[in-house]
């Protein structure tokens, strides 16, 4: 039902294999997909959540981490309201690449975009990046920080909910940047509620 009050676009980025797709599927479908293959290009998911009794639709663009798709994935940054930058806490190189990612974000995304740093796979025993290291990095670069496990469903719901809350607050303060095309009638940031439940087909 097209009864959401807000529409936000969320884009996930980060090295290949850090668990972006698993995070999205855990959140949208409530499952941890076994043998999740690498994302090709870009994937798209949608989920409507409720914040303070208001419906918020999240358009989630899950990008491929592979280097070769970088040019197409970058083209999705521009209209994002929130960017989730994911690394794998059990894989140092994925953390080391963060500055490169930030540079890309700097270059291609709107400068008011909400940026969240996520250390994924907390369920793993072989942690390489201590929590505080990630936290420090996030703080230094003005990002929100969260550690998650797509596998154990830890903090995943919270991650997206906090984004929705934050973006909604911004929107209410009219801070939300107006993106070209993001708020047109088609994309439906519409306040019309319509007849919701009464006129069921007999």
């Amino acid at each position: 039902m097209e009864d959401y009050k807000f529409l936000f676009k969320v884009v996930l980025v980060g090295n290949a294999g850090v668990g972006k797709t698993c995070l999205v599927r855990r959140f949208t479908q409530g499952l941890f997909p076994p043998g999740q293959g690498a994302t090709i290009g870009v994937d798209f998911m949608i989920k409507t959540v409720e914040v303070d009794g208001e419906k918020v639709k999240l358009q989630i663009w899950d990008t491929a981490g592979q280097e070769r798709f970088r040019s197409i994935t970058q083209s999705y940054y521009r209209s994002a309201h929130a960017l989730i930058l994911v690394y794998d806490i059990s894989c140092q190189p994925t953390f080391d690449c963060l500055p490169d990612w930030l540079r890309e974000i700097e270059e291609y995304a709107n400068n008011k975009v909400l940026r969240i740093l996520v250390g994924n796979k907390t369920d793993r025993e072989d942690r390489e990046i201590p929590r505080h290291i990630g936290e420090d990095f996030a703080q230094r670069h003005g990002m929100y920080f969260l550690e998650t496990s797509a596998k154990e469903a830890e903090n995943v719901e919270r991650l997206f909910m906090e984004i929705a809350v934050e973006l909604m607050e911004q929107a209410k303060c009219k801070e939300l940047p107006k993106y070209d095309g993001s708020l047109g009638p088609i994309n439906g940031k519409t306040t019309s509620v319509g007849d919701s439940s009464c006129c069921l087909r007999s």
Partner: protein, 831 residues
């Protein structure tokens, strides 16, 4: 205006919304508005039964008669479908979409706008679902919509989501391959729809913006590259195989490129280049060649140059592994190969400035490569080869007159450092440019030598040849070969020989134009070739190459008039082989072999029977006593005793007097053969001559054959004064006259006039005292150009009198020698 319209529209939208919201609060079915009942009725009890056709007709009829209700009908259908998607009742969703499709088609275009909002919301809703079937269905509806022409543009409508989503679909990685293919196909179709919908009107949505192109282009390429094999055709039969993602993506790319205007070409090309970099598709470059050919085939002809230009500018662009110098070079070479594959397609459509810009750009890249070159870097060599090939490919597809311009252009870029003084980079650049020149030269089909060698070009060539290293000098000779050799004799004349009869040479009588050419340039040519033989640094390759050049001149320009000059050159070569102190023994012997071989060629080309006999005697004697003075040439003549040195065997030499006798016996003029040699022995010792043309004039020997200029009146041609507007011919100064001539060729009277002039001219050569001839030929260029122009004007009538040109006189006279269409390319002559 636009924002105002937008606001108005929004306002209407909100008002209609409000009205609608107030009236739909009542929920009892009895009170429900008619349109809702009509909509409800189109749905069957069970989705398997499909749309209720008769009720659908009623709904259609209703919406046609009350179009103001369309907005609400659409909204209501959308809400029902949203609910069904939520409840996963996909059968009903499909029916709702079908109903919307039918309404869309039935709508009158004026009322369409009211309905499109909800229609597109519906499409988006379906695209958002995870069900492939719904996504595909939505795409089909979207495509149907995209093909409808709306007459009121909707400025507020955005396609951002559709481009994003369709692009994502193009990359579908569905576990089931065939489902994945279907989703990809749908994605491509969707993109095609967006393009069609928006391309014609930038106000609606500027599809060419980077945010869209960066999604669309890589999505298409990604599908194209997944094809099993790449078949490149110039024009695609869209009906065949469009069910494969690769084929459809290709068709879509063609359409996109074909619709791109000049300003948009770059918007398409930039993501193409980036995609090839990212996906490392340059090496191997099969797909790159395929793609760029497709782009060249589909781009509007007048912009094909932009594609070439973009690729050229990208030659040096960073790519994956940019840190590694070798990888970079390989990448560059691969890109240059792609370039060489497409440049020919551009050649046909390129005009003046762009032609030279392409050439200039290629040369600049070559120069940069030479500057980088680290001697044994073989990848850099590959890159240079690829660039040179590109140059050749490009030139090959240009008309011949442009090839000459290009060769002029290249030759003027060749650095000519004084012998031995140039840097290594200079000499490498020199040899690379000469290779390029050769490449272009081989694509040129010489008809008239005067056209192949405009004075300035010839002079530049000879200048370069005199200041180069041995390898470069040999290259230069090869350039001369390819331009001189009209009858494919060159391969048979690579080495000196005495057995010409066995070679199967093609010899034809030399034309009048050719005679004029040799009369003008013979001395310069011969003098330069002679000098070329006097160099200490000559290898056997150099000497043989010069032999080939002289032999070709002899065949191409052989005539009674030139026999004396040929023989005089032969004698000079023979003499230098004895007296030039810098030459090694081997070089001395080689020159003897060259001299006798060239002498023997003369009676083969002209009938001089006594000469053949005389030469035979000398050959016989040499066979006995001095086979080292006969061809074939050898690298070394080590076991030669000092008594066998050519200088010690004067009686085995061709004798000037004897040659004169032989020639005289055939009734030919021997005046100049008998005269003292114009060739200075060992020019190495003498100060370097700047120009053979000037040198010739200084010696009063400007003409080899007995043809020079006409009566003095011919001299006062206006083209000797710079900047003066000159009518192509006195009699055609009036435009009207010129047009008539262009239409009908020269009039009978003019033709007679020309003939008469030619006759006077010839008699002037024969009768005028030498001093007079010398006097009248003093301003050489003008005279020659005038002459040439007279003869040219027989075959080519300028369409219009030349317009006043502000270029310097030298260039001006050159300009007048070339066909009139070159005046569209004044830039060509500024270099």
């Amino acid at each position: 205006m636009v924002p105002l319209r937008k606001i108005l529209h929004r306002a209407c939208f909100i008002i209609s919304r409000t009205v609608y919201m107030t009236c739909c609060c009542g929920c009892c079915s009895a009170l429900r508005p008619r349109y809702k009942r009509l909509v409800d009725n189109i749905f069957p009890a069970s989705p398997q039964d499909g749309l209720v056709k008769s009720n659908m007709e009623k709904l259609t009829f209703y919406s046609l008669s009350s179009p103001e209700k369309l907005d609400r009908i659409g909204e209501y259908l959308f809400q029902k479908a949203s609910r069904d998607i939520y409840r996963r009742r996909h059968g009903f969703v499909i029916i709702a979409m079908e109903a919307m499709d039918q309404l869309l088609v039935a709508c009158h275009s004026q009322t369409l706008n009211l309905f499109v909002e909800s229609f597109l919301k519906m499409v988006q809703k379906l695209l958002e679902s995870t069900d492939p079937q719904l996504q595909i269905l939505a795409t089909q509806s979207f495509v149907r919509f995209a093909n409808i022409e709306e007459d009121t543009p909707s400025y507020h409508r955005r396609y951002d989501f559709f481009v994003s989503k369709f692009s994502a679909m193009c990359h579908s990685n569905h576990i089931d391959k065939s489902t994945g293919d279907k989703i990809r196909l749908a994605g491509i179709q969707g993109l095609q729809g967006v393009i069609r919908k928006t391309v014609s009107d930038d106000l609606v949505e500027n599809i060419w913006e980077a945010q869209h192109m960066d999604k669309i282009v890589p999505s298409l390429l990604y599908n194209m590259q997944s094809a099993e094999k790449y078949e490149t055709v110039s024009c695609m039969d869209s009906a065949v195989g469009a069910e494969a993602p690769a084929r459809l993506a290709e068709a879509c790319l063609r359409e996109l490129v074909g619709r791109a205007s000049f300003g948009h070409i770059r918007s398409v090309l930039r993501p193409v280049l980036t995609h090839f970099d990212r996906h490392e598709l340059w090496i191997p470059n099969e797909f790159a060649v395929h793609t760029f050919k497709i782009i060249m085939f589909s781009v509007q002809a007048q912009y094909s140059y932009s594609v070439v230009e973009a690729l050229m500018q990208h030659l040096d662009g960073a790519g994956p592994g940019a840190g590694d110098a070798r990888a970079r070079t390989r990448l560059r070479a691969a890109r240059a190969t792609v370039l060489s594959n497409i440049v020919a397609i551009a050649a046909g459509d390129s005009v003046g400035p762009s032609v030279l810009e392409i050439i200039n750009n290629l040369l600049t890249n070559l120069r940069a490569s030479v500057a980088r070159d680290s001697e044994k870097e073989s990848d850099e060599k590959l890159y240079q080869e690829a660039l040179i090939n590109a140059l050749g490919e490009f030139a090959d597809h240009l008309p011949d007159f442009q090839k000459i311009d290009i060769m002029m252009f290249i030759v003027n870029k060749v650095p000519s450092a004084p012998r031995g003084k140039g840097t290594r980079a200079d000499s490498m650049l020199q040899s690379i440019l000469l290779k390029s020149l050769l490449k272009v030269g081989t694509t040129y089909r010489t008809a008239e030598l005067s056209k192949a060698f405009p004075a300035a070009f010839l002079e530049a060539l000879l200048r370069v040849g005199s200041g180069a290293e041995p390898a470069a000098r040999a290259l230069l000779q090869r350039i001369l070969h390819t331009l001189l050799d009209r009858r494919a004799n060159a391969p048979r004349l690579t080495r000196p020989t005495l057995e010409y009869a066995e070679l199967g040479l093609t010899v034809e009588k030399c034309s009048r134009q050719d005679l004029i050419f040799i009369s003008k340039h013979g001395y310069a040519l011969f003098g330069s070739l002679y000098d070329g033989l006097q160099l200490e640094s000559n290898t056997m390759e150099n000497i043989e190459a010069i032999y080939t050049t002289v032999a070709l001149i002899c065949i191409e320009l052989g005539s009674e008039e030139t026999v004396g000059d040929m023989l005089q050159l032969v004698l000079a070569i023979q003499q230098s082989g004895i007296s030039n102190p810098v030459l090694s023994v081997a070089q001395q012997c080689q020159l003897q072999g060259v001299a006798i071989s060239l002498a023997v060629l003369v009676p083969h080309v002209c009938t001089v029977p006594r000469l053949a006999e005389y030469l035979n005697k000398i050959i016989e004697a040499r066979r006995e006593e001095a086979p080292h003075m006969l061809p074939p040439l050898m690298e070394s003549y080590d076991d030669l005793t000092s008594s066998k040195l050519p200088a010690k065997l004067p009686y085995l030499m061709m004798d000037q007097m004897a040659l004169c006798e032989c020639v005289k016996a055939s009734g030919l003029d021997t005046a100049r053969l008998a005269a003292p040699s114009p060739y200075s022995a060992g020019s190495v010792a003498a100060p370097h001559r700047h120009s053979w043309l000037e040198a010739g004039a200084a010696q009063g020997r400007d003409s080899l054959a007995d043809i020079t200029a006409g009566p003095p009146t011919e001299l006062d041609s206006a083209n000797s004064s710079p900047g003066v507007t000159r009518a192509a011919c006195g009699s055609e100064s009036a435009h009207l006259e010129a047009w008539r001539r262009a239409a009908g060729g020269p009039s009978e009277a003019e033709r007679r006039d020309l003939q008469r002039r030619r006759a006077t001219l010839n008699s002037a050569f024969r009768t005028a005292p030498f001093d007079h001839l010398k006097h009248i030929t003093a301003p050489k260029y003008e005279i020659q150009d005038k002459l040439e122009e007279i003869f040219n004007s027989i075959t080519e009538e300028p369409l219009l009198p030349m317009s006043g040109s502000c270029s310097p006189a030298g260039q001006k006279s050159y300009q007048q020698n070339v066909p009139p269409y070159t005046k569209y390319f004044p830039e060509l002559f500024l270099y």
